[in-house]
């Protein structure tokens, strides 16, 4: 009962945060627009509602119906090879899909276009530009392809292109309401996966890059919308396996499973149990181990489910491993009066942790815990992380994401000048 009361109070406090006074300039702009905007005249009984249609109107209606059938039929057909099949990927850029690679460009979404920068915080140039609303770019593991979404209204289409932005192909015929992450590539670059809302429930969906193939909706139950849904992860080398937090029983606890795309079989990694909350799941880059946080304590387990154990001295949420599988960003300390710190930790104990240290020239505080969305540079020398502008969280300012660059060797943190861009993805290229 107290919990419910506390929750209601917290919601009320949160909803009542901030003033709703309309700025005078907004009202002035509206009234100015109204002066030159005619009202629509109401037509109480439009012609199309009449029972008696003229022959001409019937002809128009019939033609429209035929056109509608053709359009709907076309939408339902799988994309044919004539719609622009992707070219074979070029090998000159291909990076090894496991381990460190050389740093390529960084792609970002900006003003409805996909842009690239040569390095963190650098100037951007258009990669895929045009009137369409494009966002959420993600490079394939080999660095040769780029996927992104083209959105309108509440749905978006999956698009793929070559890494240089050419040969753009639309892979989904119907708009999908995806959960919030970009699509992710399988290690062989032949398919993509995300979570989308299908028939009112969130489901894992997989779309082969082959335009002639169909979208697959996996028959595994994700946690109800009332709980966090974790991003499913392709195995780093085996495109048939994905790691997924699922809820096999409605309203039951969440477990961690490996789902076999070829057979539909599942392998239990962490048994579901009341009081257990699994999140931040990831594969080690070599695919031999899996990391996750259990009730905010980082754990590691072999991919056959054996040898589960907690990381000593680490707590909180963890970021993905470095590409070479040797380091992780985690939270340390926080007991008693000690402030928690974000540290880059060598997992084999070889070397001292590197504490994230914010630059004195920025007013951004160092994050005390790394969100899992941080990305390592392909060569593991840097990370890009994201925090919200202070005023965003209070609802008093614009929702602005601030990108931070972390030097993985010194821990130095600096702010990147990318306030009007989003969703960076770093291209891996051959060393």
């Amino acid at each position: 009962m107290n919990d419910k009361r506390d929750f209601n109070r917290a919601v009320d406090r949160w909803l009542d945060d901030g003033s709703d006074a309309t700025p005078p300039e907004v009202i002035n702009a509206v009234l100015l627009a109204v002066r030159s905007t005619p009202q629509e005249r109401r037509s109480w009984w439009p012609a199309w509602r009449t029972n008696r249609m003229t022959t001409y109107a019937k002809s128009i209606a019939a033609a429209a119906a035929v056109l509608l059938v053709v359009i709907v039929g076309y939408q339902l057909l799988p994309a044919g090879p004539g719609s622009g099949a992707p070219r074979p990927t070029q090998s000159i850029l291909s990076a090894p899909i496991v381990g460190a690679a050389a740093n390529g460009v960084i792609a970002l979404a900006k003003d409805g276009d996909i842009v690239v920068a040569d390095g963190p915080g650098g100037d951007t140039r258009p990669l895929v530009a045009g009137p369409a609303d494009d966002s959420s770019p993600v490079f394939s593991p080999a660095g040769t392809r780029l996927a992104f979404v083209r959105g309108a209204g509440q749905g978006s289409f999956l698009m793929v292109a070559d890494a240089d932005g050419t040969n753009v192909v639309q892979l989904t015929r119907e708009p999908l309401e995806i959960f919030g992450w970009p699509w992710s590539f399988a290690p062989d670059g032949r398919s993509l996966m995300t979570v989308a809302r299908i028939d009112g429930a969130y489901r894992v969906v997989v779309r082969p890059v082959d335009p002639a193939a169909a979208l697959a909706v996996l028959d595994i139950r994700l946690p109800d919308a009332g709980q966090d849904i974790e991003e499913p992860r392709f195995h780093p080398t085996n495109p048939q396996e994905i790691l997924v937090v699922a809820q096999l029983v409605p309203d039951g606890p969440r477990g961690l499973y490996v789902y076999d795309l070829a057979t539909g079989g599942i392998r239990t990694i962490v048994e579901p149990a009341d009081g257990r909350y699994v999140r931040d799941v990831a594969w080690l880059p070599n695919g031999e181990h899996i990391t996750y946080s259990l009730n905010l304590d980082p754990h590691v387990v072999a991919t056959d489910g054996s040898g589960a154990g907690a990381f000593d001295a680490l707590r909180g949420r963890v970021s993905p491993f470095s590409n070479d599988g040797t380091r992780i960003v985690a939270e340390r300390g926080g007991e008693g009066d000690a402030a928690p710190q974000s540290v880059i930790v060598p997992i084999n104990g070889d070397g001292a942790p590197v504490v994230l240290a914010c630059s004195p020239v920025t007013d951004i505080e160092c994050p005390s815990a790394p969100p899992p969305g941080w990305i390592w540079s392909p060569d593991d020398s840097m990370l890009i992380g994201t925090v919200y502008d202070e005023t965003s969280s209070t609802g008093e300012g614009p929702l602005t994401e601030i990108y931070l660059l972390v030097d993985a060797h010194t821990g130095q943190v600096t702010e990147l000048d990318w306030r009007d861009a989003g969703t960076p993805t770093w291209q891996r290229v051959a060393p």
Binding site: V26, L31, Q39, S136, G226, Y277, N295, Y388, S393
Partner: protein, 184 residues
Amino acid sequence: MDSDVVERARAGDQEAFADLVHQVSDTLLGVARRILRDPTLAEDVLQNALVTIWRKLPHLRDADRFEGWAFRILVHACYADAPRNRRWASAIRVLHADVASDVDDIQKISDRDELERAFRRLPLDQRAVFVLHHHVGLPLVAVAETLGIPDGTARSRLHYATRALRAAFEQARAAQDLREGRPA
């Protein structure tokens, strides 16, 4: 809401519409802000919605239903203009040390941040139902009527939204308990 003002605005009286704008804009902005979680975008959406309301006013048959009708146009404007696919929605809130002075403050900030994160991950249709019900105070039946959806749909959207926020809230409390060494 003065239905006479609505009637005059519906007949094309721009001064009456200006009165109407002053009467409803704060409420509409509050709804847009809470659905979108972005004040600047909310102002843009409000602006678009108010111009749409002006254009479509002659279609409003019952002046007494103006407010609900305006909410509906606003929510649809939110759907149309909302940003999509924000990745890396960070767990981190930039927090200056002097903001959180004691345990209660930290708890409140933690609660709010978890609610904020969870809310941002909800689909817009769930957000709209939650805001109209909890912030505006509309009964669920009125929410359904306002949005033009069946009662059961409004109920399920509210259910899912509440569960998501509740789970986030409990997570925040559990994490705080862990930090303070209290048993879960």
